[in-house]
Symmetry: D2
Subunit: 504 residues, 4 copies
Amino acid sequence: MSNATGLTHECGVFGAIASFEGENNCNIAQIVYVGLEALQHRGQESTGIATSSGNDDLHVYKGMGLVKDVFKGDNLKHLPGHIGIGHTRYSTSGASTNVHCQPFVVHSMHGSLAVAHNGELVNCGSLRKMVLDRGVGLSTHSDSELITQALCLIPPDGEVNGPDWVARIRHFMHLAPLSYALVVMLKDRIYAARDPYGNRPLCLGKILTHNSEEINGHPTLNGYCNDDDSEVSDGWVVSSESCAFLSHTRYVREVYPGEIVEMTQNGIKTMDIVPLPVGKPQAFCIFEYVYFAKPNSIFEGQEVYEVRLECGRQLAKEWSIEADVVGSVPESGNAAAHGYSQQSKIPFGELLAKNNYVGRTFIQPCNKMRQVNVSLKFSPIASNVRGKRIILIDDSVVRGNTMGPIIKLLKRAGATEVHVRVASPPIKYPCYMGINIPTKGELIANRLELDEIAKKVGADSLKYLSVEGLLKAAQKNNTNKRKGHCTACLTGDYPGGLPEELKW
Amino acid sequence: MSNATGLTHECGVFGAIASFEGENNCNIAQIVYVGLEALQHRGQESTGIATSSGNDDLHVYKGMGLVKDVFKGDNLKHLPGHIGIGHTRYSTSGASTNVHCQPFVVHSMHGSLAVAHNGELVNCGSLRKMVLDRGVGLSTHSDSELITQALCLIPPDGEVNGPDWVARIRHFMHLAPLSYALVVMLKDRIYAARDPYGNRPLCLGKILTHNSEEINGHPTLNGYCNDDDSEVSDGWVVSSESCAFLSHTRYVREVYPGEIVEMTQNGIKTMDIVPLPVGKPQAFCIFEYVYFAKPNSIFEGQEVYEVRLECGRQLAKEWSIEADVVGSVPESGNAAAHGYSQQSKIPFGELLAKNNYVGRTFIQPCNKMRQVNVSLKFSPIASNVRGKRIILIDDSVVRGNTMGPIIKLLKRAGATEVHVRVASPPIKYPCYMGINIPTKGELIANRLELDEIAKKVGADSLKYLSVEGLLKAAQKNNTNKRKGHCTACLTGDYPGGLPEELKW
Amino acid sequence: MSNATGLTHECGVFGAIASFEGENNCNIAQIVYVGLEALQHRGQESTGIATSSGNDDLHVYKGMGLVKDVFKGDNLKHLPGHIGIGHTRYSTSGASTNVHCQPFVVHSMHGSLAVAHNGELVNCGSLRKMVLDRGVGLSTHSDSELITQALCLIPPDGEVNGPDWVARIRHFMHLAPLSYALVVMLKDRIYAARDPYGNRPLCLGKILTHNSEEINGHPTLNGYCNDDDSEVSDGWVVSSESCAFLSHTRYVREVYPGEIVEMTQNGIKTMDIVPLPVGKPQAFCIFEYVYFAKPNSIFEGQEVYEVRLECGRQLAKEWSIEADVVGSVPESGNAAAHGYSQQSKIPFGELLAKNNYVGRTFIQPCNKMRQVNVSLKFSPIASNVRGKRIILIDDSVVRGNTMGPIIKLLKRAGATEVHVRVASPPIKYPCYMGINIPTKGELIANRLELDEIAKKVGADSLKYLSVEGLLKAAQKNNTNKRKGHCTACLTGDYPGGLPEELKW
Amino acid sequence: MSNATGLTHECGVFGAIASFEGENNCNIAQIVYVGLEALQHRGQESTGIATSSGNDDLHVYKGMGLVKDVFKGDNLKHLPGHIGIGHTRYSTSGASTNVHCQPFVVHSMHGSLAVAHNGELVNCGSLRKMVLDRGVGLSTHSDSELITQALCLIPPDGEVNGPDWVARIRHFMHLAPLSYALVVMLKDRIYAARDPYGNRPLCLGKILTHNSEEINGHPTLNGYCNDDDSEVSDGWVVSSESCAFLSHTRYVREVYPGEIVEMTQNGIKTMDIVPLPVGKPQAFCIFEYVYFAKPNSIFEGQEVYEVRLECGRQLAKEWSIEADVVGSVPESGNAAAHGYSQQSKIPFGELLAKNNYVGRTFIQPCNKMRQVNVSLKFSPIASNVRGKRIILIDDSVVRGNTMGPIIKLLKRAGATEVHVRVASPPIKYPCYMGINIPTKGELIANRLELDEIAKKVGADSLKYLSVEGLLKAAQKNNTNKRKGHCTACLTGDYPGGLPEELKW
């Protein structure tokens, strides 16, 4: 799917801590800044960074817009300290304002804390009632304020009425098992936690700048590596995706589902692993592989690019056809198209040039000239299109709005056949765990049969990858032994079942 | 070459005229706007549009910035009329201000005119002196004001002292043979002209919105077509590149070197073809193929993509080597990499993911953390890099600043060998015809021998395409019989020789 | 004192409710907007408006900057409803961000509420501890969030654990007797309350637009009027100052010290009057008369202009001297200068023309030209200055920075003598009730004796009004029988004594 | 007249040159900047500064907006040099764009020049034709481009075909006798010239920063002084008004009507005085006294404030009436009100407080509340209004839009009578010499008789100063022996007669 209109991410979180003692002039905000830029594809609406210099006077700056626009000028310099967390938020309708920016920072009786998260609390309704009933005023409807105030409150049974933040986080995770990747910063530490189902991604890395020669010779940087904590590091990072571990940081491992990790200057430490409800499988969001994540991110021990390549190969096995060229809607379908080409032996070819600067659609200039409703975002590359039978790969088809104009463009440029192959199954159900999916009526797969879709978009044929094919691709090189994936939007099978209040 | 730092374009021009009579409410600015967006890659510094409703009160709006930023809100609505020209200008240092925005519009004794051009007058010094000596004050150092005032002036011999604008343009072209693609708008017509050497590109197209069914069945749209003027059209367009002929317009032909074309509501008409100095060959800028133009643009009867693919094939013939994967620096080297792969039978693989939002380079956050000077614009895709022998294709290497960090990235991610193959010859000489080339000292090919460059950037080997190979690629499917190309920046062989004042 | 540098206000509050039933399309935000503009002199840093359409989904928009800049475009239209409150906040250092903008809006267990206030809680430290100890996280250090969460919390004794907001406000006022003017908006009403000492001003007015003819004949509009509630009104307004009751609203009366007023569609109603601690006098801020308020505002039954005029007369009685002309530093000293002129029979004359657009101070343009440190904000009017003995009136002298350059200007323009007369006593002590007074060391009256100040600023003599003279002026036409005034910044005599934590 | 809507100025010019040799680091732009800020009341639409470091590479920066907004940040630093001129332009409709910003800078055959002017060429039509006929393209309809190109052109008879700029300026002044104050900057000098009629003001001053002690003792600074050129100065300034000679500069004298002054590092020198057509009197714009100029500016040897005071006295002589208080519409009528008070012995009182921040007019918030069309810019000061008979002075009444609401305000606040006295005669005719006067139909004095105007605005009586009274006031202390004034807008008597093309 071209990234014009479709699914929207739910956010990215990033945290960093410098590991050495006595560093007074550290400006960790620089590292958080770069991490957030690398996670910007997970949210472009707003962003924020909170930092600590070791005392309760946390620093925070948030704003609407891209990371590079919010943190202009000297804004980063005004965020001193060696500990920091940041957030980047998805783009929604104009209603959203800067009160929803994260991290959310409060003073509590046990010191200041800053909270940022990716995900959506499935049972936010009952949690909200609990907090209001305790006499707290909530200034927004956001989950992040709710999480923060829930962490601050003394529960009736007094279990966590002291400054034991791990106990407070554990208590919260029991109350709300789904779904979040959470970072909580205190004056001298960061807690990173992932929901027990492992629905939202979160991973750990090392800062390694002290010896760049050594790094040069190390083949694992920006690649796989074992959970080797023995090596001296300059600090630790936590991120929604490992693509944010740019050249000065190294991927270490995922935060385990349900795990609470404490990050201090002394290193990282597992404080607890909150278990899943008995009998429930893990449920990592399969659409992180299909659509959301950057191709070089690592989940469950494998690179996303590899899974997408395999999706393309699976697709070729499931739905082969004779053709002259395999191409993609750039750039979302590239990996799958290469996979399809490898499996089918049909050569890959670039079909479309991106018109990077063309934004508006063409408007009727006068009475006699009729409006032409064609996407101008792409132009055909005639050399690969003219007189060719084309297999056109996309990663997903959600509403089906963009595929039609692209096929029209290819046919006008001389394509003799266009066969669409979608490298994921049709989306049919809404998501309550942090993905903004169009309403049922907008999802093309709920409205039309397969051949109707093909006809509507003008394709000579149109096929989707099967759920089984997708799961097979996601599991091929998967090193996570429990391997559970959430396919709710494809199958309607929600992890933990659908909460009473959400039944439809 | 990654498009971060290198050569800069010299501008794009676009013009449009609605062909039917009595159209009072036409807003041709809409069409010019879309055309300029599609030419935005030729200049991002400033832009402007001038339109005419048929009388001498021309409308103009210009400003610094991208087309979409300058023409926000209701700006387009304030540009009424059925005739319009526009311009998009290259990005230079901060010194440039909005006085240089084109089109340049003046009132003259024979009515108003608007002028926009791409190119650089090689003999601007003597032309400028002529204009000043006639008692005209020039408010800028820009060629476009100079051209405009030259067109307005009565020459001493009185040859063009009347309202015969073709005579004035012809007179100017004799005075200044190199280099420009020029559009001149009067209240009721546009003149399009190309320098006699054909150095700068310019082409013509038709507006065809009246019968979209017919268009659907027409295989030539956005592709090649003959100079078939018999078909009824809704109007005419002129553009620096045919990539700006989006789905509602059709490519017709190039403006010939030296040609003056008159565009009116009645159609297009060749008014004159100003000849080259005797014995001089044509000199179309070879770097439009290599670097500047969009891959789907058409020059001399062939698609740019095709030439780039052939450059890759030539490169494989000239400089083959054993390897596991052929890849490119996205997206500039893509076509050549595919060509190299086809010729060499070594599989193509995506090596690098673009970090679209990562802008700033990583800054030293504190004393202990050393600055890491690595480009963060790309991240390696481990699946195609780890343990692989890589052939890395780029379209050009100008300063050599970006290649080194990319190779470092690939090696750190586990590449065992990186062999650089450049799909064009080394740039060694400055350009005086509209391309902003770094100074001799900055050009890496002037400073270092081939193996020194390889060593500096960390490549296991590094080779350039030969000038002969490039010319062969550019001529393979070339339908222009005279086929002359300017290779001055590669060979120092300037078309028409170097003017006295420029000798160095 | 010229308003360049000196004391800063602490905020303005405004509220309005339309009194008729069934008004669905009312946009009361328009009225709040105009009121806030008229209170803008009390704070230019940030502003905000919250409105209600009768349900718990309150609307709010806040931002940094002037009222006219924050509420641009369609912002007001997005604030529907017939009930609204607004706030305008003082200008401080760059540290302040938009998290401090008021009104503060929260959802509570008993519905949504919006809170805005002017003033400063003297015992905020102990209140803050109480709120944090109850398990609430506070996102700012602002009093307004503290007040809001305090109102929401269930107190231990359960007194106000129900939806009785009057009881909650009363409880808060007992906990915090000083100082505030407070407006609390619920979905269907506004509560307006003033601290028991009456330190901060707050007054009530009527909206009277239904019969403008009647208004035309009514001499009391924008003037004094009795507490005549019998007249039909179109709604009610509450404001820090009556200057915000522009032509469509009429001043009714002050909110009494300690009073809680309920404003609904049915009118206004006194719900309670929280008494002062036994034996304590009222303490209305005397500097509202001297400096802060607009001259046409009404406090304690008298117009501020009248009090300032009387201060000038008192000053002439206390410190007479022979001179040719009495003038002022425009515009702050105008009223007192006219009073001084009336009492002394020395003619008033305009001494200085304001250079409205001159902002920056003159900067040394080159080595030879020395920097001239003279205020360029004023230029002398020679006709009234040349060869004249001048009495120069200002309302106050805080730091003494601006008086010196003005006297220099007058002397250079030919004044033979300049005698400064200040229409208020010297400021010597800090304020903890909402006024931002410079530190002790910055206050010129703490650093220098009277004749030293005169010498420093270049005056031939310099005298201040006595505290007794000021109080006499403030009480001349005062209709408030208890007439207590806070003169803490002049005398160090703090109302209620200085809290333990603030002793210095 | 309150300055909301009425006449608009036509521009301000300022120039400065440092007088000492060898000053390389001089940044005269700083001085021009402050001068322009002090002339900002003459135009708020756009501004610009051009400077010279002594060579032909002039520096210029121009933009839309106030001086302080256009020259933000480092803009001034990028204008090096010891010679500079600047301009500030009046505010007109949205049609105006930055192409009209002055100074206008061109390269000519005899070096670069920058031109700025205040005024309007009465015979611009014939001048324009002359320039176009010579083969020059004009990019705007502005007089300043026209003047610049006219200065550059070689006239047919070859009179000024050399680099003799004085001859060129003289030639221009013969061609266009009315009206302008003109500054022309070359690389090493400034020429200042005033039209032969002396219609637009222009004056000269000295920069005196080298010995500030001496200045301190000098009573003439910012006051009157003789044309004493013997004193050593640090440089010279030229300005539309002397109010721009702030504390570091001293007023010297006016540029005489028709005079061409050369300003160099060596001082100032009269190069020529172009005479008036025989029999024509001088015609200095009387409205500079009435309305445009700052009160502390000096024209014809007298301070503007003094003339306005005298207008008030004349008005009291012509139109006395019994009343309790004389007041003004602040601040435009202040001086005249004081004059009226002095003559009539009726005490002056402040009637209105300015609502500085109230911008928008009150908008109907809902169906039931009717729109109240009352100016909110002022509020009455009840102490001076309630129960009083008021004489209300304004400097002029043009459209009569603002007077009505103000009288309404005063009456509602309890004024028993309001008698309007206007300190200038009614405006009845358009101006072609640089003042933007409303159309005949908009001028209230053309539409209504005196008593009709009084009735319309709700005044108990309304009287204007007579033309004779105004002229008498302007001549009382006038040191200009020829004393001619332009009263065309009052009498229809145009200096030099009305050009054929303008007759109506």
